[in-house]
Amino acid sequence: MNSSLILGIVTFAYGIASVLYASALIFNKSSIGKAGRFLTMGAITGNIIGIALRWIESYDHGIGHAPLSNLYESLVFFALVTAIIYLVLEIKIKDFVVSVFASPIAFLTIAYASLSPNISDRIQPLIPALKSNWLIAHVFTCFLGYSGFAIAFALSLMYFLSNENDSEGKKIFSRLPSQSVIDELTHQMIMFGFLFLSIGIITGAVWANSAWGSYWSWDPKETWSLITWFVYAILLHARLVRGWSGKRIAIISIIGFSAVMFTYFGVNYLPGLHSYGS
């Protein structure tokens, strides 16, 4: 049993869980949703075991390091955190509907990591710049933030589908929570994401200062994380001070998540210091 095999099974499990959640919504049967929940729990356990095994395997290769050092490892971790958050949310609000929209994110992320020919899943040794205790703190907090925003994005999509006024013709979506509930949950997720994005940027800055002597160098990834931070800061001010809610917040949340995606993937096509993330 090695980490690749386990993570392969986990990918499959996330996929099935997404299908189960979607069917639960379509056929309006919460028992199928429950099955999705149990499968997610299993997938999360497998995901954790897979990451732990990979960590152990890196020591067997004599290049031991936390499995958070390249794009493959970060995607696997991102899937895990996203799944944990949607599961917690599902249990907390006693409704599986959020998972219908959030579980595909976890599935697509880990599937992309495993299947894309451009992403190597080999365990590679750490280059000197990454050999630091800040690596774990930085990647861990950044991805908690990204996952928070990913769930907020799923909620914002839900917001547009749950139209309270016309129940006819869109029966599937009548099962969705009310817009005010979605709006509040989006806000909660964005606050969670914003806190951890802030900590992620800060740990990155502190790390940069101890690795190459300047806490901020306007490298494209740094700049894009700041742009993301600006977008969500705008959202929070618009909401808390100007009283924006609903549709407008959902739109900014979607824009914010596109900025997250660009920070994560797009930046790899721009020149800069973070090239090892590609």
């Binding site: 000197p128 509040e184 690795a211 300047s214 742009i227 001010h237 100007r242």
Partner: protein
């Protein structure tokens, strides 16, 4: 002073006051903050697509002359340090400061109160409320209810009513300050950055193994800075993984003051040396030109060969009195018929039976390269001493403590703002027949939707209590 002059002065003063008021009012607006954040976000994007601080020739080639001139005039090639980007940040800081002061002034009566008073009437109209009846007299409930609220809230006041009592509980009043922590943290970070840009520096030095420096040339200008001490590099080492990827760059450094060794440390990436406010980081490395080279000189006709160690400028007599060879210079990299053959030495061969001296190329990678010349005398590289130089990034940034304080405050501030709230609760207990009627109502400055759940939970806990 005439009456008119006096009147004019008053008018002037009033206008000045009005102007000040207009400016103040302009900066108290949250709309302005949103617009500034939006402008910062949008302009920041540009700088990630136009590579910053490159050679002007590259920009010339990419954009053409006309566009280059325009972009350059608007500082788009160093836009994060341009006057207009810094002005945006300055406006944001003033906006944050003025806005925070304005709001703090408006809410100071809510936040800083020594003895807050509670009015039952306020709680009567709250949406988050719940009633239930309990088989007990109010006087029997008072003690345990008070105890319950005291445990959950940090302020608890009990007042008697005509036919019962009311308990007010309150906590988290100071969490209302969370948002000001966040704003202050940003001002701290920006002032730290400003301090660093005025009183700090960022420079780079290359020190050959065994060499030392006491000045650093700066990145942004051509100036150099006196360090006040000497940095010596005893040894540089680079190691590789089996895959060929670099594993570790290490420089053995010594700090010397008045020729005396004061600190000794081997630095690697992620583990710098800090001395007297100056930080020394491992950042690059390279090879030094070999100072000595051993070449084999052989005569093609007789086959006689001998080795000779040479330095640049040295000349050596050739065997059989054929002439002399002199080592002229070292070349960092050499292009031979379109191929880069790397480091090479260059010398001239003066033969007795030739009219003109012959140029000889001695690439270090290809020791017997000279055989191709097919001359009477063949020169080949036998041995050369290599040494490295270490590239060190040297920085001084007195703004770092301020920036780090800002970091800490930002995290605390965000946590307090997002996840803590100012809550007040009111529990009214009135006698009704043989029972007590209990009304729970609560309010919070955040998450108003969640208050219904909260009130429900408290009511359940109260009604489930064993009296």
């Amino acid at each position: 002073m005439t009456n008119e002059q006096f009147q004019e002065r008053i008018n002037n003063k009033a206008t000045a006051g009005r102007n000040l008021h207009i400016i103040w009012h302009f900066f108290t607006s949250v709309k302005l903050a949103i617009v500034l954040l939006l402008m910062l976000a949008v302009t920041s994007i540009i700088g990630t697509f136009i590579p910053q601080n490159m050679n002007s020739n590259i920009y010339h080639n990419t954009f053409g002359h006309g566009l280059y001139e325009v972009l350059n005039a608007l500082s788009f090639f160093d836009m994060y340090h341009s006057w207009w980007y810094q002005l945006l940040m300055f406006f944001l800081s003033v906006n944050l400061l003025v806005c925070s002061m304005d709001r703090l002034h408006a809410t100071r009566k809510i936040i800083f109160v020594k003895n807050p008073s509670y009015k039952l009437s306020v709680f009567k109209h709250l949406k988050a409320n719940k009633n239930f009846s309990i088989k007990a007299f109010p006087e029997n409930l008072e003690g345990s209810y008070k105890h319950f609220i005291e445990k959950k809230f940090n302020k608890c006041i009990v007042k008697s009513l005509e036919n019962g009592f009311v308990i007010f509980g309150e906590k988290g009043r100071l969490t209302r300050l969370g948002v000001y922590y966040v704003h202050l943290s940003i001002i701290l970070m920006l002032s730290g950055g400003l301090l660093g840009s005025f009183f700090g520096f960022e420079g780079h030095v290359n020190i050959p193994e065994g060499g030392s420096v006491n000045t650093v040339s700066l990145k942004k200008s051509s100036e150099s800075v006196e360090l006040g001490f000497e940095i010596k590099c005893n040894k540089f080492n680079v190691s590789f993984y089996d895959t060929g990827a670099p594993k570790e760059y290490k420089s053995d450094l010594v700090i010397l003051e008045n020729k005396k060794e004061v600190v000794k440390k081997a630095i690697i990436v992620n583990d710098p040396l800090r001395y007297k406010g100056i930080n020394i980081f491992q950042s690059s490395y390279g090879s030094m030109p070999p100072e000595k080279i051993t070449i084999a000189i052989s005569s093609a006709s007789s086959g006689i060969t001998f080795n000779k160690e040479l330095e640049i400028g040295d000349a050596v007599d050739l065997p059989e009195g054929l002439g002399t060879f002199s080592l002229q210079k070292y070349l960092n990299s050499y292009n031979f018929r379109g191929h880069n053959i790397g480091e090479a030495f260059f010398g001239t061969l003066s033969l007795k039976d030739a009219d003109e001296p012959v140029n000889v190329l001695l690439p270090l990678k290809y020791p017997s390269f000279d055989k191709m010349r097919k001359g009477n005398v063949i020169l080949s590289v036998m041995d050369f001493e290599t040494s490295h130089y270490t590239g060190l990034q040297i920085t001084k940034d007195p703004g770092v403590p301020l920036v780090y304080a800002g970091f800490l405050l930002l995290i605390i501030g965000c946590y307090v703002t997002f996840f803590m709230s100012h809550k007040s609760i009111c529990i009214e207990v009135c006698k009704k027949g043989g029972k007590s009627r209990v009304t729970v109502a609560a309010k919070s400055n955040k998450n108003r939707l969640g208050m219904n759940e909260y009130v429900k939970k408290i009511s359940e806990q109260l009604s489930a209590m064993n009296i």
